[in-house]
Structure formats: structure tokens, C-alpha cells
């Protein structure tokens, strides 16, 4: 169980390896093992270096330049970042991104948790339900958005036909800002709930039945067991999912690009669609890179939070 792995801070001195630890590093073959380990890790690190770190550093350099799409840019210092401050379209995109994150993260996590809790109990054809919920994960974002177009088209879409058939008024999904924003939230929640359910299911299956037994013996009802046993012990899982969902939400692009194109009237424009428009339509790659660096900063902050949380919260459990 997890408690056997809990560190005992009072018995060791951090920073100074114990005698036994020093001995272990010197055992025969250790050097070769380490080399083999580095050998296995090297391809991953190489890919990370070439496809993540080099472009990242490159994007930072580009963000310091004034560019017109072709040829060398001219060094502009922090001009692009200063432009961000006074750019209403950037702030609108940032506001939309934050709102999108605040809606999608709790909604998709809540639905994921409910689905995982249901599917962790004895249900008929349980594997089928699990597969159905996980299925959207296998669908690309573009395909999801194209399905969304068929569903939400306000003239000939399936949803408005259903609403009309049951006597309700059709909704202006594409021409009014609030319903349009709702379409990208709904499509993303549908897409992401299965992923959240999968992670929560793994978390739920790590909770021993003895805890529920003990709580039942103490007189806890179903809700109290969920509230006081399940929820606290899913803490690390929830935190992991919060961070991941926030990063995913900040990076949302394909669903918005295909489903609403950022409209109507910019109501669904988010940071990455704005960066794309700036970089590939206007061809102002320096400014687009600056938007990208802002996005990276957000991701970095949450990744740091995840790193800290995963080290501390594991100990609690």
C-alpha cells in the first residue's frame, strides 16, 4: 500500500546520502546500468530537444523580432510584448480563453467523475459503457468539430431540428455570441469527458475497499462515503486533471477554428486562433510568437504547480 512508501523525515538527513546509499552506487555493473538507462532515455531527450526545446527557443527569438513573413526579421526588443498590452483583440482572446477554461475544466471533470463513479460499480455491459465514453478520445479535434458543425448548424443542424420537433424554439447557435460560445464548450466537454473518466476510474480503482467497509461500519451513508472517502483520496487525481485540463483548454484551437472560426464578431476567438491568424494570415510571425510565449508562460505556471503537487500529494496518500 501507499503508506509503506511514505518517507519518514525524522530518520534521515536530507542532502547527505546514507552510508548504504553510497555503497549502492558503487556496486558492480552500476555504471553500465546507468549508461544503458541513459541510452534508452537518449532518443526521447533528442526528440524533445529537436521538436520542443529548439522550436521553443526559436519562437522566443522570433518574438523579439519585427517580421513580415519572409526573410530575416529585424530585432525589436520587447516591442511585440508591449503591443500585446494595448491590443484589444489579444485581451478579448485571452478573456475568451480564460472563460472557456473556467467552464470546460469543472464541467468535463464533474461529468468524468460521475461517469467514472457509475462505471466503477457493477453495471450491466460495463465494458461497453466505458468504451462508448472513451470513444471521443479516439476522434481527432477537427473531426469532433465537423460533427459539431452538423449538430449545431442553426438552419439545417440536427439539434435545432430536434428542438423544433419537440415544440421548442430553435437556438441561434452560430449567429449569437452566447450560444456560439456554448457550442465550443459543449463540443469540448463531450470530447474530454471520456479522458477525465478514464483517469478518475484509475484513481477510484486505487482506493481500497477496506476504507469503504470501515466507513460503513462507522455509519456513513453512500453520500458521506463519497464525500469523505472518495473525494479526498481522489485529490492527487483531481489536481493532475485540473492542471492538464487547464493546459489543454489554453491550447484549444481545432474545435474553435473549425466550429466557429472565432466568430460571430470575435465572440469565440481564443489565444491560439488569434496567434494562428496573426502568424499565418497576416504573416506577422513575431507578434504571433509573442502570443505563443504568453501561452507558454501560462502552461509553465500550471506545469510547475503540477510538479509540486505530484510530489507532495503522493506523500499524503
Amino acid at each position: 500500500m501507499a503508506d509503506t512508501a511514505v518517507a519518514r523525515p525524522g530518520l534521515s538527513r536530507p542532502g547527505r546520502p546514507e552510508r548504504g546509499e553510497r555503497m549502492r552506487t558503487r556496486r558492480p555493473g552500476a555504471r553500465r546500468e546507468a549508461l544503458a538507462a541513459y541510452g534508452f532515455l537518449a532518443p526521447n531527450y533528442l526528440l524533445l530537444l529537436v521538436f520542443v526545446l529548439v522550436p521553443l527557443v526559436g519562437a522566443f527569438f522570433v518574438s523579439l523580432q519585427r517580421t513580415d513573413g519572409f526573410g530575416d526579421g529585424t530585432f525589436a526588443g520587447l516591442d511585440n510584448y508591449a503591443r500585446l498590452v494595448g491590443d484589444p483583440l489579444f485581451w478579448r482572446a485571452l478573456g475568451n480563453t480564460v472563460l472557456f477554461t473556467l467552464l470546460v475544466t469543472p464541467l468535463s471533470m464533474l461529468l468524468g467523475l460521475v461517469a467514472a463513479t457509475l462505471l466503477n460499480t457493477a453495471l450491466p455491459v460495463r465494458p461497453l459503457w466505458r468504451s462508448l465514453l472513451i470513444l471521443p478520445m479516439a476522434v481527432s479535434g477537427v473531426a469532433t468539430a465537423l460533427i459539431g458543425v452538423l449538430v449545431f448548424d442553426q438552419n439545417s443542424g440536427i439539434l435545432n431540428r430536434i428542438l423544433t420537433a419537440v415544440g421548442l424554439s430553435p437556438v441561434t447557435w452560430q449567429s449569437d455570441p452566447v450560444p456560439a460560445f456554448a457550442t465550443i464548450v459543449l463540443a469540448t466537454v463531450w470530447w474530454r469527458t471520456g479522458f477525465n473518466m478514464l483517469i478518475y476510474l484509475a484513481g477510484l480503482q486505487g482506493i481500497g475497499p477496506d476504507l469503504y467497509e470501515a466507513a460503513t461500519l462507522d455509519g456513513a451513508n453512500r453520500w458521506q462515503r463519497f464525500r469523505n472517502v472518495t473525494i479526498p483520496l481522489l485529490g492527487p487525481t483531481s489536481f493532475f486533471l485540473v492542471v492538464l485540463n487547464v493546459i489543454f483548454s489554453f491550447q484549444v484551437f481545432d474545435i474553435v477554428f473549425v466550429l466557429t472560426g472565432g466568430g460571430p464578431g470575435g465572440a469565440t476567438s481564443v489565444l491560439v486562433t488569434y496567434a494562428y491568424e496573426t502568424g499565418f494570415v497576416t504573416r506577422d510571425q513575431g507578434y504571433a510568437a509573442a502570443i505563443g510565449m504568453v501561452l507558454f508562460l501560462f502552461a509553465l505556471v500550471f506545469a510547475a504547480a503540477q510538479y509540486r503537487a505530484s510530489r507532495t500529494k503522493d506523500v499524503v496518500e
Binding site: V50, F51, V54, P55, G58, F61, V62, Q65, T67, D68, G69, F70, G71, D72, G73, L89, V149, D153, Q154, N155, S156, T172, W173, Q174, S175, D176, P177, V258, L259, T260, G261, G262, G263, P264, G265, G266, E277, T278, F280, V281, T282, R283, D284, Q285
Partner: protein
């Protein structure tokens, strides 16, 4: 050594390209000695267009022994991100196809070959003045106009009958095209005669098709740039009238509410599904309409206001500035814009030629040939000064401004006067003018 964007991109491109592009057909597989006399040509296209290009290439190779042209067909969606990356990495194709509204972004930034010294003397005279204006930049000629297309109106005759409008009311010549007032009156009758879930029309201004809104501006005799292609000129009564007129399509319920600029639903889809009675459309839709539309339909001319005006759609063929074979590239461009290859290409693909000797009453389409004169007549209404504005090097920066501001106007978020004021300042910021 300071790391420049160019050296960074070249370095990372050298590392990544073999892996990324091998499956896309971008890797030059021919040995170096065989590159002599070989041109690379990147384009997107419908099946009919690609067949036309292949036929022209075969004829060129037969007429020029020792020369080959490698055709690289890519999806439109990735065409220009690829071309931009290749230009930046220094390995672009020798020739590529480019819409007229994107042409200026390449020509104005030194990425294209100036063909002027390489073309035969009579070449300019073969093209219409509008087409020739679309490939000029500064003092140079940076491409040849391969074909054009322009928006006329496709009409669903079944819905017209349902609304009690007789087909005889549909204009049959450019001179008697509907005026804006007549179009408005027609919209009112269609609105009254059609059920609530059918609309009089849809306009094809979605996405980069926002340039088609400019036709309304031109019909009011307005402009968005001065002749220097830089100074904004949209702050005018003509522009306010055009914005107010197009916004009225929404307030008067003439178009579906999702017929906005950013909409993910294209105007043509509404017409095919019979949600609208008319749609502004290029001739390229004719083959699809012929096979898909299960209703009776025809085509008529776009409306006029102070004057007629229309968009100069279509594409040019251009050679890249650093091609190793400028003479061969120019020869190929001349060959595919000769009368016979252009006529065959346009006839099969339902597009309009850019040569004056082809854009006439003799123009034929393989499908619905009787409609060819409508689109040819519409194309003849395009003014060279209108085309020159769209060929501005700053057009790629102007497009987002048009999309943003017109979408705000159409969704009722701002009035015509504010929209035009914002367009003027936005276009000024985009051009630096």
C-alpha cells in the same frame, strides 16, 4: 554568432524536413544532374483542374524536349503554410499557383520572379486589362493570370415560383442586372413569399471570401485603397452605403443569421439544401450544382448600384525569385496561358479565361454551357482599378481587418459609420499607410 530567424529555421528545417515531408512528396528525389530542365510546380486543385494541369504539362514536355515539370498537388488547406515555410527555408518550388488576393504578399516582399524581361513582347496584349493588373507589383510583372472567376447569382427557380416570382423577372444581361433598390424589393417579396425557414439569399463572403464583399463597395463606386496600394481610402459615403446595405440583409431577414463572415457554414451549402433561393457564387460551383441540386436553377448577374462591380477571383501562376531556371519557368508559364491550354482548362473546370480572345461569346463550359456567357459577362464588369487594390502587398494584413469589422457590423454589434471608421484605421495600420 547571433541566431537569426532565418538560420534557426534553416537549421531546424534541415533536421526536420526529411522526416516531416518525405510522405508529402516535397523531397526532391531526382539526382542533381537531372535537375537541369526540370521544374517543380506546386498547386492544389479539383480533379478537373489537376487533369487540366497534367494535360498542359504533357503538352509542354512534348514541345520542349529535355524539359520536365514535376507536379506536386497538395490540399488547399496546407498550400500556403507549406509554400511560406519552403520560401523561408530556401527550397521553394520553381512555380506555384496563387490566388490574386494573396499574390501581393509574395510579390511585394521579393519572393517572386519578375517575368517582365523574360516574356515575349505581345504577351500583355493577350490578357484582359483586369487580369494584367492583378499580376503587377511596382514596375514588375510577377506572374501570369491563369484563370479568373467572379461571383454571379445562382437562382433556385422552384423557390422563386413558390414565392410567386416569375423566371422572366430574372435579368438576362449585365445592363438590366438588378439595382440595389430592385434587389431590396425582390428580397422583400421573397421574404413574404417563402416560409420562415427559407431565406431570399446567402452571400459567399465567408473566410477569405470576405474580398467578395468588396464587390458591393465597388458597386457604390467606392475604394479601400488609393492607387499607391497603401493609403486607406475606405472612409467614404460609398463604403458606409455598402456596409449599411449588406448589414440590412441581416436586419431584414434576407439571409440566414449564420451567413456571417466567420460562419462555419458556407453560403453554397444553404443554397444546395434549398434554405435560400439565391446565392452569390463563382462558376466553379456549376459542375457540383449540376450533379447535386435536385431542383431547377439558373444563373444571373450580380446587382449594380452607382455602377457594376465584381470580384476578380481566380489564380495566377508565379515563379519563385530564386528559381535556377528562370527562362524555362517563364516559358512554361507562357505555354499554359496560351489560348488552347487555357481554353481546355477553363472549359473542363468551369472557370473563366484571362485572355481577351477567349473571354467572349464563344466561351463554353462542358457543363451547363448556356451559363458561360453570364459569368463571362459578369467578369467583363470587373474594373482594373478594383483589381489593383486587391493585388496590394498588404492584402494579407487587410483581410483580418475586413473579417473582424464586417462580422461586427453583420451581427449588429456596430453601425455602418463605426465600421467604416474602424476599417479606415485598421487598413491604415495594416498597410502602414
Amino acid at each position: 554568432m547571433p541566431v537569426t530567424r532565418r538560420s534557426f529555421l534553416a537549421g531546424s528545417g534541415a533536421l526536420a524536413l526529411p522526416f516531416l515531408l518525405a510522405s508529402c512528396g516535397f523531397v526532391q528525389t531526382a539526382p542533381a544532374e537531372k535537375r537541369q530542365g526540370t521544374l517543380t510546380f506546386t498547386t492544389w486543385g479539383t480533379d478537373a483542374e489537376l487533369a487540366g494541369f497534367r494535360a498542359a504539362i504533357a503538352a509542354f514536355e512534348a514541345a520542349n524536349e529535355g524539359s520536365t515539370v514535376e507536379l506536386n498537388a497538395v490540399p488547399y488547406e496546407q498550400m500556403f503554410t507549406n509554400i511560406d515555410a519552403q520560401l523561408q527555408a530556401g527550397n521553394p518550388p520553381d512555380i506555384f499557383r496563387v490566388p490574386y488576393y494573396t499574390f501581393g504578399a509574395y510579390a511585394g516582399r521579393g519572393q517572386l520572379l519578375d517575368l517582365k524581361p523574360l516574356l515575349s513582347a505581345d504577351r500583355q496584349a493577350q490578357f484582359t486589362p483586369q487580369a494584367w493588373a492583378a499580376v503587377q507589383n511596382g514596375d514588375g510583372t510577377f506572374g501570369l493570370p491563369h484563370h479568373t472567376d467572379t461571383s454571379a447569382i445562382l437562382v433556385n427557380l422552384d423557390l422563386f415560383r413558390q414565392a410567386g416570382i416569375d423566371a422572366s423577372e430574372i435579368p438576362t444581361s449585365p445592363e438590366n442586372a438588378w439595382t440595389w433598390d430592385q434587389l431590396d424589393a425582390l428580397g422583400e417579396r421573397l421574404r413574404a413569399g417563402l416560409p420562415a425557414d427559407r431565406w431570399p439569399w446567402a452571400y459567399n463572403w465567408q473566410g477569405n471570401g470576405v474580398t467578395r464583399w468588396l464587390s458591393l463597395l465597388f458597386q457604390s463606386d467606392g475604394a479601400f485603397l488609393e492607387s499607391d496600394q497603401k493609403t486607406p481610402a475606405i472612409d467614404s459615403d460609398a463604403a458606409r452605403e455598402a456596409v449599411a446595405f449588406s448589414s440590412s440583409f441581416f436586419t431584414k431577414n434576407y439571409v440566414p443569421a449564420n451567413n456571417t463572415i466567420a460562419s462555419s457554414s458556407y453560403a453554397a451549402e444553404s443554397w444546395f439544401s434549398q434554405s435560400v433561393a439565391m446565392v452569390w457564387s463563382g462558376a466553379f460551383q456549376i459542375p457540383d450544382a449540376d450533379t447535386t441540386a435536385d431542383f431547377e436553377w439558373t444563373a444571373t448577374y450580380a446587382p449594380r448600384n452607382v455602377r457594376a462591380g465584381s470580384d476578380f477571383g481566380g489564380n495566377a501562376l508565379v515563379a519563385t525569385a530564386n528559381t535556377q531556371q528562370p527562362e524555362l519557368a517563364a516559358a512554361f508559364l507562357e505555354f499554359v496561358t496560351d489560348a488552347a491550354p487555357m481554353r481546355d482548362f477553363c472549359r473542363a473546370a468551369s472557370l473563366l479565361p484571362t485572355r481577351g480572345d477567349l473571354l467572349n461569346d464563344q466561351l463554353e463550359f462542358d457543363v451547363r454551357p448556356e451559363l458561360a456567357p453570364v459569368f463571362a459577362g459578369q467578369a467583363s464588369l470587373v474594373q482594373p482599378q478594383d483589381v489593383a487594390q486587391v493585388a496590394s502587398p498588404s492584402m494579407s494584413a487587410i483581410l483580418p481587418v475586413l473579417k473582424e469589422q464586417l462580422d461586427l457590423a453583420f451581427t449588429g454589434a456596430q453601425d455602418a459609420a463605426t465600421t467604416v471608421t474602424n476599417l479606415q484605421s485598421g487598413i491604415g495600420a495594416a498597410t502602414g499607410g
